[in-house]
């Protein structure tokens, strides 16, 4: 199915032309594609009779929406206060060093992308990180290196 067709299918789920449908709609698009494309912004604006600048303005306000596709392995690092104390900052700089990406970016080979999340609420196990749906608790630098190595290997083999 083409991108437009998939977008249209999502739009059909929101028949009401109301502004308060905007966030749920964007969430549906984000879930479906992993990001909000230019086409999607145009179609949403059209569907809700909203200027696209408002759609873009809204989407950029919130953490959940991104405008570029994610990597095969999406790394999330919790930067809650407990995780910060536990060393999430060091984990972050290590990832930046290893993969040369920062918050919201994706590696060139589209393998890894990075997102810094505000507290996910698992403060007892700080610092916490996740790769796609798999969580890692109490991560140390060495472990982080091993984790990334593992996913690299998974991807190549």
């Amino acid at each position: 199915m083409t991108e437009t067709a998939r977008i249209n299918e999502i739009l059909e789920r929101f028949p009401q032309i109301k502004r308060n449908a905007l966030i749920p709609l964007l969430q549906a698009i984000q879930d479906e594609f992993g990001y909000i494309s230019e086409t999607a912004i145009g179609r949403i604006g059209d569907h809700l009779s909203l200027p696209t600048s408002k759609v873009f303005g809204l989407a950029t306000f919130y953490n959940q929406f991104s405008f570029a596709s994610r990597g095969q392995y999406h790394i999330t690092i919790c930067n809650g206060s407990s995780c910060h104390m536990g060393g999430s900052g060091e984990l972050l700089s290590e990832i930046t060093k290893m993969l040369e990406i920062t918050d919201g970016e994706c590696t060139r080979d589209r393998l890894f992308s990075l997102e810094v999340q505000s507290c996910i609420g698992a403060c007892g196990q700080s610092p916490v990180m996740a790769v796609n749906d798999k969580y890692y608790a109490g991560v140390e630098i060495k472990e982080l290196r091993a984790i990334i190595k593992k996913y690299r290997k998974d991807a190549s083999g």
Binding site: I41, G45, P51, S53, V55, G57
Partner: protein
């Protein structure tokens, strides 16, 4: 019932439902504001208008706080002043320190706030947001690093111009004003009306300045530089030159330009007169075709672009004519060389206009003939004022140079196109004459001069009863268009001006804007018309000559080649 407030120890009267700020202002008490703009929704964002209210723990923003009985307010206590000062210092800490190089030096609200609050020390150094200047648009330059995020441009673009090319994007220290996906203005749905420039308190939004580029052409051998200026410019530029607002500066403009090095100076209203002649022809043709839609004017370039983006289905209803300024430009490039015997000298055509969208318009492919632009440079009223100052001429003792009568260069009714409703008023005179063979008494058309966004008249000309209307301000226009599309209104001829009030309130006009000044400018245009010997385009001897020598008759092949244009649907993210 009035409400009594105690302000700084004395009592003032306030009206129920109003804000503290409006009560203060009505009573002659001044509180600084940044984000607040008359007629636009309050946001309470800038916190500059904070005042102390007894019993309230924190300072309150007077712009959004409704008055209550027996409020005790202090507007300039040390605590309030300190708060305002630190907030301005915070703004300055993220502002490039380049006032001397800034377009808005001297007319900047941030600058005067800093001055008024006696900020004389950089107490808060810090990193500044790294933003790139967007010069993509021929009309508007946007420098986000100078933006103080008051949101006035956002609100004016949305609420007055129904465009919303800009909105707030991101948040916190990343907050910025942005087009959709951060696209350059020229690739956005911006129609270059320039209302945001008038709204912007700083130099974050300015016109794409072109007047320094003229220098290489002036006095250059092999070049003839011809300027045309619009009526709106003539009645407004006085404000920036220390003259009484509303003074007609035509003579001074002509004289200064000629002394500065321009070779010929003509009035844009000449083009407007020609356009009126053609408009009447087009109108009758459309009538014959029996179109259900009104004939919609196309002289406002911002409006034209709006139609191309938002109402492509209305393109057939648009008048196929170029705008007055482009018609003027066309005459300058195609006819003037013969009159002045320019030989193989290159004609440089300059437009001086109150309009920023005209800068965009000049770059339209449709506005070129064999790849050469009809108008080479467009400079705004503000740029003109600077050029006049730069000329060093003493305006009080300037010996005015009379118009060169050998060159047809002035208009009549066309002067009215400077104000909203003026185009239809001027057109109606000629149309009436055309249909009935008689002249209409000008004062009978004064319904087009009421100070309203929508002006409408029924005119009985000969056997025909015509409904003619004018709307200005795009948000009003959009509503009207929707009504027309829904069949709720039937109009024969509709003038649309993007800017509220028309060209006298164009994006290139002097700052600061206020409603009163716009009324003065409009009145000056009306005075000019009332005092004119000839008030009809078809009686303008220059127009008659142009038709005799060049065009033949309205709607002729030559007219169509030179004065008509086409419109195309524009695909941008709306």
């Amino acid at each position: 019932m009035g409400i009594q407030l105690e302000v700084n120890g004395s009592l003032i009267e306030a009206e129920k439902g109003e804000t503290i700020l409006s009560a203060l202002n009505r009573n002659g008490l001044h509180v600084p504001t940044i984000c607040s703009m008359k007629g636009l929704s309050p946001t309470g964002a800038c916190r500059m208008c904070v005042v102390e209210v007894e019993g309230r723990e924190n300072l309150v923003p007077s712009c959004s706080f409704p008055v209550e009985e027996a409020l005790k307010i202090t507007t300039h206590s040390p605590r309030v002043l300190k708060a305002r000062k630190i907030n301005v210092e915070l703004l300055l800490s993220n502002h490039p320190d380049d006032c001397l190089y800034c377009e808005r030096n001297g007319s900047c609200e941030l600058q005067s706030l800093a001055e008024n609050l006696n900020i004389r020390e950089r107490r808060m150094p810090g990193n500044k947001s790294p933003y790139k200047i967007d010069r993509s648009s021929p009309a508007i330059v946007r420098d986000p690093s100078k933006c103080i995020l008051c949101g006035r441009c956002v609100r004016i673009c949305e609420e007055r111009m129904a465009t919303s090319a800009l909105d707030f994007a991101y948040r916190g220290n990343e907050l910025r004003i942005s087009t959709t996906l951060g696209k350059p203005l020229n690739f956005s749905n911006c129609i270059a009306c320039g209302q945001c420039l008038l709204a912007c308190p700083t130099g974050a939004l300015i016109e794409h300045v072109q007047f320094p580029e003229l220098d290489s052409h002036l006095h250059a051998p092999g070049k003839v530089v011809v300027a045309q200026y619009t009526t709106a410019v003539a009645v407004s530029v006085a404000e920036m030159l220390g003259k009484k607002p509303g003074t007609d500066m035509s003579g001074i403009i002509r004289t200064v330009l000629l002394r500065y090095g321009f070779d010929h100076v003509i009035e844009s209203s000449l083009g407007a007169d020609v356009m009126i002649m053609e408009q009447v022809a087009v109108f009758q043709e459309r009538k014959k075709e029996g179109s259900s839609l009104p004939l919609i004017t196309s002289s406002c370039p911002a409006w034209v672009q709006y139609v191309e983006q938002y109402f492509p289905e209305l393109i057939p209803a648009l008048s196929p004519l170029k705008s007055p300024q482009q018609i003027g430009g066309s005459l300058v490039k195609n006819w003037l060389p013969e009159i002045i015997q320019a030989g193989d000298k290159e004609i440089v055509s300059v437009l001086i206009s109150s309009c920023t969208a005209a800068k965009n318009e000049a770059r339209r492919v449709e506005m070129t003939s064999s790849g050469i632009a009809i108008i080479d440079y467009v400079i705004t009223t503000r740029e003109l004022a600077r050029l006049i100052r730069l000329s060093g001429l003493d305006l009080d003792h300037l010996e005015e140079i009379a118009p060169d009568m050998s060159v047809p260069g002035s208009g009549t009714a066309g002067n009215l196109t400077g104000v909203a409703g003026g185009e239809v008023e001027a057109t109606s005179r000629t149309l009436y004459h055309h249909l009935s063979g008689k002249d209409i008494l000008p004062s009978k058309l004064h319904r087009f001069r009421v100070n309203k966004a929508y002006r409408e008249m029924s005119i009985k000309a000969g056997k025909q009863e015509l409904r003619i209307a004018s709307v200005s301000g795009l948000s009003h226009a959009v509503k009207l268009i929707e009504e027309i599309k829904a069949g709720k209104r039937s109009i024969d001829l509709l003038e649309v001006m993007a800017c509220p009030g028309g060209c006298t309130n164009g994006g290139g006009q002097p700052l600061p804007v206020d409603d009163h000044l716009i009324r003065i400018r409009s009145k000056a245009v009306y005075d000019m018309d009332n005092g004119a010997n000839i008030q009809e385009a078809h009686k303008n001897p220059h127009v008659i000559k142009i038709y005799e020598d060049l065009l033949g008759e309205p709607g002729s092949k030559v007219s169509r080649d030179l004065l008509y244009t086409t419109f195309t649907k524009r695909d941008v993210l709306l």
